[in-house]
Every structure is written in C-alpha cells, then in structure tokens.
C-alpha cells in the first residue's frame, strides 16, 4: 500500500526533474548570488568617465584639491599592488616597475610576519594603513602621517629607500595615467571616474564657452571657484545638465571643504590638532555578551550571523511558495488531463495525494539542498575566482549548522503545511485560473511572515517574534527568522509539535476534499462547500447547492 504512494512520488519526482522550471529553480540561487556580485563590479567598470573642468579664480584651490583627492587613490593603488604581490597574482606585473619596487619589500615583510591566513588581517592594521598613507603622500605631495613613526617600522624602512629612488618616476606615471587605464590598478579610484580637462592652458576661457561644451556633451560639468574661497562670502558654482548624479560635486566639494578648513585654521592660528579634537565625534566600542556572561568583541561575522536568517527567510519563502505552487499546477494539470480517475483504479485517493506531496517534497528538497551546497561552494571558491576579498568571513555563516538545519527542516514543514491547502485547491479546480482565485487567502497568509521579517530580525526574542512563532502557518518562517536569536529549545519543541499537529489535521481535511474534488467537474466549490465536504463522512458526497 505504502509502496504505491512511493511509486506515485517517484514518477512525480522524475517528471519534475525533466521540467525546465525545476532547473530554473535549482540555478536561480547560485545565479542570483553570482549576479549580485558580478553586476555591480561590471557596472562599476562601465561607468562613463566624467569629464569636468574647473575655473579656478582663487588660483590655489584646484591644485590643493587634486593633491588631496589623489591620496585615497594612491593608497588604494599601493594596497592593490602589495596585495597582488603577496597573493602571487600574475596581474602584479601590470604595475610599472617603479611601483613594484616599492611594493616588493613591504610584501616580503608581510609574508614573513604572518602565515597565509593572517595576511589579510595584517593589512587591516593601523600601522599598515599609516604606511599606505605615507606612501601615497610621497607621490601626491600632500603631507601624510607622521613620517618618523612610520619609518620606524621595519616593514617600511626598506620601502623608504626604494621610494626615494622611484618617487619622481611614480609621480610621472600617476600624472600621465589615463582614466580608462587607472581602473586596472584598483577598484573605485576617483581618477578613473573623474577626468579634469585642463582649460587654463587654452588661454582665456569664459563660462559661455564651457556652457557650449556642456550643451554639446563634450563636458559633463564645470565648477567655478570664487576669487577668495577662504573668506567664504562668494558661492562656488556647479554647472551641469545632469541634475541627478551629484557624485562629482560632492567629491570635489569634500576635498575643497577640507582644504578651506585647514586654511582658515591656519589664518586664525588655531592648531589643527586642537580643532580636530574639538570636533571629535563620540566613538562607540561595540561589544557583545556571550552566554557565559563575558564581554566579547563583535566580529563582522557575528552581525552577518544575526542577519543571515533574514536572508534565509526570504529564500525559504521563495522555496516554499514555488514548490507548493508546483504541487498546485501539477494537480490541476492532472485533473485537466483526465488522468486522475485512471490512476484511481490502481491507487486510493489518499495514496495518490500523499504520493504527489512526497514526490514534490523530494523535488523541493533537491532544490533547497542544491542551494545550500552552491552557497557553501560559492563562498569557498568565488573570492578566489573573482580575485577579491570578502570583508566578512561568510564561510562561518555558511557552515553554521543552526542556520542550515533550520533552513532545510523549516522548508519541509512549511511546504507540508501549505501543500495541504494547495493539493486541496488543486483537486477542485479545472484550470490554473480557477485555482488562483481560491489561492488568494492562502497567498495572503503567506505574505505576513515576509512583512514581519525585519521587525522579527531586529528583535528575535521579542513579543512579536514569540507570538508569531506559535501560529502554525508562520512558525517555519518566523522560527527561521529567529535563528540568530536563538529561540530556546522549549520553543523549538513546542512550536514544532503545534505545527506538526496542524499539518496532520490539515492533511486529514485535504484528503477529504481531494477525494471528492478530483472527480468533480464544473464550477469549483466555495470554501464553505469544501468545509461541508470535510465534515461529511468519507465516501459521502454532500449535494451541491445548484443541483
């Protein structure tokens, strides 16, 4: 008897493996992740170089802004060079010899100081960042951090000598580097984004000529710096046709502000350090308390772990929704194919129903497990393939058993809960269109956990989260949502029992509807009518009103 359900399930599973939709479902997740990583990077590379001009009436501000703006760029370039060197990437050779000679001694010391794992951690350290700043200031001319302190580090002592020899060369390279090529030496360089057209060299340039260039799309924008910006009485002018992209103005304004602030401090003989101190914002140190009651550092992974369940809920929801939908369309299709009664000569309605539900559960589990596997695989291999570093150790998130177990178990329970509804609805409908009308209340029921996702994620052990956990249709999603909390064992047990009992009851009701529904033709019944079917003893068919 049970064997026949399994036969039905097996057929259902094999059939599903053959549909395109199933493979779309399998591939959806890895493709989504890859796209989420690749597309922004690709778009970044596609961004047009913004050509802009500056009419500097002050005579000094433009140069200072450029020196300041070069600082973060150059730090990124040196960091990239050192990183490629320690990771032994072939692309290290793309850097000019002058840059490489400075990067090599630093990279070598890094490798000496750390085993493979800690390399990236070392590069996050204050000393290293100071060193980068010092390297950058050598090239840009903008004064960097304390020279002596930096050079006291053995890591940079060697590099300092190289820098002495190569400084002019690097400066020259940087100055002549075209924006389109700058992209290859670091991500998100402002040099690659904004290209200043030198208008001063062309003699007397008026705003009118620049206006014409903007109208002809030769120029993205131009900025007019007033004669005495330090005084601050006259306004700067920003002229462009594009009113939505403010990046250029903000970027230029940021460095102009910094420069003017320093100039004003100097003018008023205020010590820069004092001014910085006065403006110093409150700095919070984030700690968490472990179960044992001890204070611990908050790692980025811990925050990711708290929010990973929210992503999990979303995926869970997509999985439950699409797989239950599959059950619905399969049932409706079988009904409209008129194959159901043929099957009923061999299997009982209950066997048929359970077989279908089991078969689609296998399909769903295959899909969900493939998602988990591809996530783990992507986290493991993607950074290496893409040549990038993840800020957060996602592997720790990916391998958290609570998340993965919750995901798979709650997928199964959630699917079973909704499958009872959908198989019942599917059995009474002759077309998907009819079914979608009856689906409405179920869809609304499914929406709520999505709406509650963020509030529950913020307070996983709060009253709302706890309350929703005990409502069976929401249990799988909300408990998944709370996995970061995490809920107590008692909560897991009680909510699961509640959910399983509800599922059993629903299956009993669905079986009764299914039994009558699959043989019914014509208008689908109202929910009230189906309720009467559920109440009637097995084998009895209550009259329909219109009959």
């Amino acid at each position: 008897m049970r064997n026949k359900s399994l036969l039905v399930a097996q057929r259902e599973y094999v059939e599903n493996l053959r549909t395109k939709m199933f493979w779309v479902g399998i591939l959806f997740f890895p493709i989504m992740i890859v796209l989420a990583i690749v597309i922004p990077r690709w778009l970044e590379g596609r961004k047009d170089v913004r050509r802009y001009a500056v009419l500097d009436r002050s005579g000094f501000l433009l140069q200072r802004v450029e020196e300041r703006a070069a600082m973060p760029d150059l730090q990124k370039v040196f960091r990239e060079a050192i990183q490629r060197y320690v990771q032994k990437a072939e692309s290290f050779d793309e850097f000019p010899a002058s840059v490489r000679q400075v990067a090599v001694p630093i990279g070598d010391t890094l490798i000496e100081e750390a085993g493979d794992e800690k390399l990236l951690d070392l590069m996050e350290k204050r000393e290293f960042k100071d060193g980068l700043q010092w390297l950058a200031s050598n090239v840009s001319g903008e004064p960097g951090s304390d020279l002596q302190k930096t050079l006291a580090q053995p890591m940079f002592a060697e590099a300092a000598k190289e820098m002495e020899a190569q400084r002019e060369e690097i400066r020259q390279w940087w100055k002549l580097l075209p924006p389109k090529e700058a992209r290859d030496y670091g991500s998100d360089l402002s040099k690659a984004r904004y290209q200043r057209i030198d208008v001063a060299a062309a003699g007397e340039v008026t705003e009118e000529t620049l206006d014409r260039q903007i109208a002809a799309d030769q120029l993205f924008a131009y900025i007019v710096v007033p004669e005495d910006p330090v005084k601050g009485e006259q306004r700067f002018k920003y002229v462009s046709r594009n009113l939505t992209d403010e990046d250029l103005r903000e970027w230029f304004g940021r460095y102009a502000n910094d420069e003017l602030r320093d100039k004003r401090l100097q003018q008023e003989s205020i010590d820069k350090a004092t001014a910085d101190w006065i403006q110093k914002p409150v700095d919070f140190e984030k700690k968490q308390v472990s179960k044992a009651g001890k204070q611990e550092e908050v790692a980025k992974e811990d925050i990711a772990l708290k929010w990973a369940p929210v992503v999990g809920v979303y995926l869970l929801w997509i999985a439950v929704f699409s797989i239950s939908q599959m059950l619905l369309t399969n049932t409706v299709e079988e009904k409209s194919n008129r194959i159901l009664e043929v099957l009923l000569s061999s299997v009982s309605p209950l066997q048929l129903m359970s077989g279908k539900i089991i078969g689609i559960a296998w399909s769903g589990l295959t899909m969900v497990c493939s998602w988990v596997l591809s996530f783990v695989a992507l986290v493991n291999f993607m950074p290496a393939l893409m040549g990038m570093n993840l800020e957060v150790n996602l592997l720790k998130v990916a391998s958290d058993p609570r998340l993965i177990t919750s995901f798979i178990v709650y997928f199964l329970l959630g699917y079973l809960f909704f499958s009872a509804f959908l198989v019942g609805i599917g059995s009474v409908c002759n077309s998907v269109k009819e079914a979608s009308n009856l689906m409405m209340p179920v869809s609304i029921l499914l929406m709520l956990p999505i709406l509650a996702m963020i509030p529950v994620g913020q307070d996983p052990n709060g009253a709302l989260a706890k309350f929703l956990s005990y409502i069976p249709p929401f249990t799988p999603f909300v408990m998944m949502n709370r996995a970061g909390g995490p809920p107590s064992l008692a909560e897991y047990v009680v909510t699961s029992i509640l959910l399983v009992v509800t599922i059993v009851l629903l299956f009993w009701a669905a079986a009764k509807v299914f039994r009558i529904g699959i043989l019914m033709t014509g208008k689908p019944p109202t929910p009230l009518e189906m309720l009467r079917w559920i109440k009637a003893p097995i084998g009895q068919v209550p009259a329909r009103k219109q009959e």
């Binding site: 026949k4 036969l7 039905v8 057929r11 059939e15 053959r18 549909t19 079988e334 194919n337 008129r338 194959i339 009664e341 043929v342 099957l343 009923l344 000569s345 061999s346 299997v347 009982s348 309605p349 043989l519 033709t521 097995i538 084998g539 009895q540 068919v541 209550p542 009259a543 329909r544 009959e547």
Partner: protein, 301 residues
C-alpha cells in the same frame, strides 16, 4: 455459480438526488456484461462504487470475493470514461507505470509495455512522448493500459465513446479476446447496438433504477418481434400502420415493433408499391426498442 461481481440493493444519494436506486446484479465469471442506460442513468456512479471510489449508502458489493475493491485492485482493470495520459511521459513509460501501480515489478512492466505496443502497431512510439501521439493512438495506449497487468475483471466505462472507427474495432477485439482468455468484462454504454453485438448478459438502467436484466437472449426473447425495414421513398406511410406498436423511422431505415399476434406479412402488403423496399426483415425487437418500451417511450437514448 461463480460470480466475479455481485451487487445487492446498492443505493447512492448525492444530497437529495437519488443517483443509484437499489441496483442488484450478479455477473458470472468469464462473461461479457453490458451495463446499459441513457446518460445520467447512474452507470458511472455504480461503476465508481464498484471500484470503491465512492461508497454505497446502502447495499453490498462483492468483487472477486472481496467486500472492498481496494483489496483486489491489482486484479482489476478499469478504464474510466474520462481518461487521459501524462503528456510529457513516453508511451512505453506510462504503460509500464500503470503496470507498476498494479503491483508489477519494473522490469516485467517495461517488457510487457513494449510487447503490447509492438503487438498493436505502436512499437516505434514506445520512446515518444504522449503529447506527440494522435488522438487515436492515445486512445490505444489508454486501452492497453487497462490490460497490462492481466486483470481478472475489467470494467470499462463507456469504452466506445469518442473512439475512431479503427479503435472501435480494436476495443471490440480486445473485449472478445479478454473473454476468450477467461476474463470477465463489464462495460457500460448508452449505445444499445454495441451491447447487442457483444454482450452475454445485460442490465438496463434508467434514472438509477433497474429496468430489465438477464442473459441477452432472454431479454431479447421477451421483447417481442419487430420488422426492420430498409427503404427509399416517402416514409410518412409508415405512420399508423395497423399491428405496429411503435415506429422508429430514421428516413432510410425504420424499425417497427409489432403488437403481439400481428402478422408481418400484412405490414409488408401495405407497403408494397408505396415504397421501394430494399430489405424487409422480421426478427426480435432491438434492445433500443425494448428499452424504450420498458421506460414507456419517454427515454431519449
């Protein structure tokens, strides 16, 4: 006597509608049994009760010695009126699947499916999806699906409806072959002619009630005599002939049920010279006429 199936006082209500009203029948093993009646007579409901798809409100069913068809499903073949195939499955696969659902093991089912398809000229379609089959071929596959597991008792609900002439022949041959193999065949139909050609015994129902049942020869013998006339000309003369109880005129052919004791020769004499007579045949009344008479001339079958 050894009965494959007995029904005793079987009754089924759908709410206030009495679909099947105290039906009784006993079907000896190895016979072809016709279950006749107009649409809506309760044939399908009765068959569904036999198959344990519905349960009767009253009465008993015994099928192959069991109370419940669930217990003997693997020995039954059932072809419902509403039938179809999985479009995406291959013809061989779906036959094998039907076989496996009837308890055959995978290999046997597969071999038997291939053999059946080959024997019925569908060998090359074995690996083609059902959606590629023509309607006639699909019907063949459905018929074969009923037979794959060598059933003892085969129940066919309106097996001829919607079949093309070639498949009507196939269906007929299949039914006769099953009888030769000692199987019991029950089929329902609303077309009396088919039953007349095939059945050993029949049950006539109307509005859920039994009208007549018994061996075909007995039913026919009790039905009286009739004249079957093939003619050309104005058929209005046929109306109101003395000695004729009922006329069923189709324009080129007419059946006239005779009153008891009426002389067919008199009828013939009245027609000579008025019509061009191609055939004048005196014989037992057709099932159709028997049925119409039994329900008082009101049936629409």
């Amino acid at each position: 006597m050894d009965y494959s199936l007995t029904l005793d006082g079987v009754t089924k209500r759908f709410g206030s509608v009495l679909a099947v009203d105290h039906i009784a029948m006993a079907i000896p093993r190895g016979t072809i049994y016709g279950f006749l009646g107009p649409n809506g007579a309760g044939k399908t409901t009765t068959i569904r009760m036999i198959m344990s798809i519905f349960y009767p409100d009253e009465g008993q069913i015994r099928i192959l010695g069991e109370e419940n068809a669930e217990a003997v499903k693997d020995r039954l073949g059932y072809l419902p009126e509403e039938k179809g195939l999985y479009k995406k499955m291959k013809a061989g696969e779906i036959l094998a699947y039907f076989g496996r659902l009837k308890g055959m093991d995978g290999r046997t089912a597969k071999n038997r499916a291939a053999e059946l398809l080959e024997r019925h000229g569908l060998g090359e379609w074995q690996d083609r999806r059902c959606e590629a089959l023509s309607k006639g071929m699909g019907q063949k596959v459905q018929i074969l699906g009923t037979l794959i597991h060598d059933p003892e008792l085969v129940i066919l609900d309106e097996p001829f409806s919607g079949l093309d002439p070639v498949n009507v022949e196939l269906m007929r041959d299949v039914i006769l072959e099953m009888k030769r193999d000692g199987r019991t065949v029950i089929f329902s139909t609303h077309i009396m002619q088919q039953a007349e050609q095939l059945c050993d015994a029949i049950l006539l129902v109307n509005k859920g009630k039994k009208i007549i049942d018994g061996p075909l020869a007995m039913v026919k013998a009790a039905g009286g005599r009739a004249v079957m006339l093939d003619y050309d000309g104005d058929g209005s003369i046929l109306r109101g002939l003395p000695g004729v109880a009922r006329l069923n005129d189709s324009g080129k052919q007419a059946e006239m049920t005779l009153l008891e004791g009426a002389d067919p020769q008199e009828v013939l004499e009245r027609l000579v010279g008025k019509l061009t007579i191609r055939r004048f045949d005196v014989r037992e009344a057709s099932l159709h006429e028997i049925f119409v008479k039994a329900v008082g001339g009101k049936a629409d079958a």
